[in-house]
């Protein structure tokens, strides 16, 4: 039985009228209140469940953990134009943990980059919504990701280009904590401080888990904030599900000069769905039809 037959589609269509239409073709900039953002975050979670459930595969766990991070960015921080994804002066958001593609797609759709209904094409043949992000097909996607560890370096290049061109855009890159096992992340961390790319903010979705289990058991990253500090970064730690804290952290990062900023966002993998929370099984497994039903009920 497809999800549309279960009657879940109307809730997706509702969100088109409530969010995208009201802000279509406008430059988004610090427009939403915390209460509005909370409502958006809930819709994003519903999209993630619905999309991955329909696709029958995907990565719900690490998408759900970063919902508030993207909500705060896209509805409170980023200067961007959904009607003109290539706008030269846009702030850039780069998803380095490319497996959180369902979250990015849901966010872009809620902003109006493409129709919300298109979310149900996730992972299908000829869909613009690839299993991992592909910058050549999806409006608003800055980087082709999925091979972990490359996004920070890519973001440094984007940030350096902004400095060379005297453009005032800012660059935000979202990493997974497990992703920080990759050596390239620390090559990038060293280079960002060395090149003083202060128009760059990295956010780590610090949900504590990776495919094989807890980070501390698979490959211990501690002392995690200390590592970033030692590499020359301005470090801010927040509750990654607290929209007010996240928004404040992004504000705090703006005046930091001469060094990059990392926001370590403490999160819960699978956040918002009881049986997915802190459950590594849902890193790369989609909910089945029954689980979708239960999850969506929890997210009403």
């Amino acid at each position: 039985m497809s999800l549309s037959e279960e009657g879940n589609l109307p809730s997706i269509s509702d969100s088109v009228t409530t969010s995208a239409n009201s802000m279509k073709a406008e430059v988004f900039s610090s427009s939403a209140s915390v209460a509005e953002m909370e409502a958006i975050a809930k819709r994003l979670r519903r999209h993630i469940i619905t999309m991955t459930g329909k696709a029958g595969s995907g990565h719900p766990g690490g998408s759900l953990s970063a919902v508030e991070i993207l909500t705060a960015l896209y509805f409170g921080v980023l200067r961007h134009k959904p009607s003109d994804p290539q706008w030269a002066d846009r702030d850039r958001f780069i998803l380095s943990k490319g497996h959180a593609a369902p979250l990015l797609y849901a966010t872009l759709a809620e902003c109006g980059y493409f129709p919300v209904d298109e979310l149900l094409t996730l992972r299908q043949m000829d869909s613009r919504l690839q299993g991992h992000t592909d910058r050549t097909v999806t409006p608003g996607v800055e980087m082709s990701a999925g091979a972990l560890g490359q996004g920070l370096s890519f973001a440094i290049g984007v940030a350096l280009a902004g400095q060379l061109n005297s453009q005032d855009y800012r660059v935000y890159v979202l990493l997974g904590d497990g992703e920080c096992d990759e050596g390239q992340v620390w090559e990038g961390a060293m280079a960002a401080a060395h090149f003083k790319v202060d128009n760059l903010v990295a956010i780590v979705d610090n949900n504590g888990q990776q495919i094989d289990g807890w980070n501390r058991d698979v490959m211990n990253l501690d002392p995690f904030p200390g590592k970033w500090q030692a590499f020359g970064w301005h470090v801010i730690e927040v509750d990654g599900h607290n929209l007010a804290q996240l928004t404040e952290a992004f504000d705090q990062a703006k005046p930091v000069k001469g060094q990059p900023t990392v926001i370590i966002a403490h999160t819960i993998k699978g956040k918002g769905v009881s049986f997915m929370e802190n459950n590594p099984d849902f890193h790369g497994k989609a909910p089945n039809a029954e689980e979708v039903k239960i999850a969506l009920k929890e997210l009403e």
Binding site: R135, M143, G157, A161, E187
Partner: protein, 306 residues
Amino acid sequence: MRETYGKTLVELGRENQDIVVLDADLSRSTMTKIFAREFPERFFDCGIAEQNMVSIAAGLAASGKLPFASTFAVFAPGRCFDQIRMSIAQPGLNVKLVTSHGGISVGEDGTSHHSIEDLALIGSLPGFTVIVPADAIETAQAVRMAAASYGPFYIRLCRPKVPPVYTESYRFNLGKAVTMRQGRDVTVIAIGLMVAAALEAAKNLGREGIDCRVLNMSTLKPIDEAAITQAAAETGAIITAEEHLEHGGLGSIVAQVLARHQPVPMEFVAIKDTYARSGKPAELLQRHGLTAKDIEQGVRSAIARK
């Protein structure tokens, strides 16, 4: 070649403000230091971190810059293949990888610095243009061509000074083989420093009464299928000559074209399934069968099979 690369970068840098250059702590060898001296604000030494360098270059290209990234051929693509694949090739970004120290003519540094697999690796990536210039004059032209053409490019240079095979009036034509010498009996298709060796071999073979055509296939990808097919049809035998493993380089690509369009006897002058060790460049080229004499032997074998 390397000196020419550095000087050409400076000329391009003066013409185009968007040109930026990256290196991975080898700017004194790749000669990007010449650009760094002239345009320090547009030069990024990424340290010994090739993966990072490649993805930074991709980010710069995605933001409208025209990055040239350089290191030794053994380290890019060898050290950062996945970064080249996902940061550059998949999105088709406008990054120019120009590597030096291709092949075994690197010499004394030994196996770790010999690049004998790079053309197979980079040639496997969809959308990459791959160029192996034969001398300094062609290097300058190829670098200029890369700057003027959108998309991912790989240009492989070698360490030793190579004898010029062209005069200053030469104009590089992307994707076109250059007939260096006409001939009716057999065709040698060569790249890089093997082009000079092929011309020497052709001269020697002439004394034996063998009329040998020589093609410089400096654009390895996209390959000039028409020139290969025509050479096979007109001369009836093909020898390829390259400073690379036999598998996955020029020989493999040419064999594929011949199998499809014009099967003829073929011989491969290339490194057999092994690694080279330390030695002087000339000694290594001799040990691994990459001299004019080896090409001559290949020609005789191929002709015998006609």
